[in-house]
Symmetry: C2
Subunit: 198 residues, 2 copies
Amino acid sequence: MKILIGTNNAHKVREVRQILETELTGKFDLLTPADVFDEEIDVEETGLTLDKNAFLKADEFFSKSGIPCFADDTGLEINALHGHPGVRSARFAGEDCDDAANRKKALDLLKDVPDSDRSAQFRTVICFKDGTDTLYVHGVCPGKIIKEERGGEGFGYDSIFVPEGYEQTFAQMSAELKNKLSHRGKAVAKLVKILKDY
Amino acid sequence: MKILIGTNNAHKVREVRQILETELTGKFDLLTPADVFDEEIDVEETGLTLDKNAFLKADEFFSKSGIPCFADDTGLEINALHGHPGVRSARFAGEDCDDAANRKKALDLLKDVPDSDRSAQFRTVICFKDGTDTLYVHGVCPGKIIKEERGGEGFGYDSIFVPEGYEQTFAQMSAELKNKLSHRGKAVAKLVKILKDY
């Protein structure tokens, strides 16, 4: 089954590829936008929820390609910040800011917050869309925000997030371990389960 | 797995029960609103699309019960009427009108339309919702609108709709045959396929 991943984010493509390979080798022929389009498709993420933004991306890439498509949107919900940055995680420090600026803003805001109140969760919503159906699956990974960055793997907020039950940040883990625990790993695994008999 | 069907329509409950029994006996413990609530839950179908109305119902019944829930919304799309009545199928002849009035309106509007231009399709969208995920599946049944009602089974527009490849209307068929061909049967079967490994 041909399936297009609706993202221009190379980190996400790599991660999803790793997860799919572990889960179900050979079942899906995973295409990226670069395999399908001559020009980069840029989808404005104007939704107020992860579901909506995941839909906007899946819908646009499906409409333009006709290939069953899935796209994710992911947010870090910090409980001491009432769930922020959430849907604005990628642009927390401003439009077009980079991951480092976003992490810095989170750490600054949590500067005086004690260890006991630094819980957070990553949430991924994947939207899958083909000619008929639209499926949304969620994956959640609970954990906490530490006080200083640790580790060089991963991307986004990985270096300041320690998943529940572990001491390492996502950025200190092997891709294999991160994918097993992570929000995105869980959401992709659920989607695969659904699609394998589809 | 306990699963609640989010409808007060006894015809739909009966049909879904028949389909689930054929598909996967014993896997689902299908509950109806009467099994769960003391009072009737009435959801206003204010959506402009089948997807939206199916969501409104699934969401309301899930929120109030905490039980994984699915609800359908179904429309008859008559091509000579540019896809109408579609999402307004149940209230085509006016709010609180009955099935007979809706059928009469459709037949009246198609009075002078020749056989060759009376194609139509039934479309069902089922929305499934639990604490994390939201799944929309579609089922479509192509066919045509005949000139006079035939048959006493079924409900809604069944007695004026002949599915492609058949001579009988849905209202002249056994429940078993209708469920095999029908929009709702296809959508439920797809949902079952997804949920059985869920």
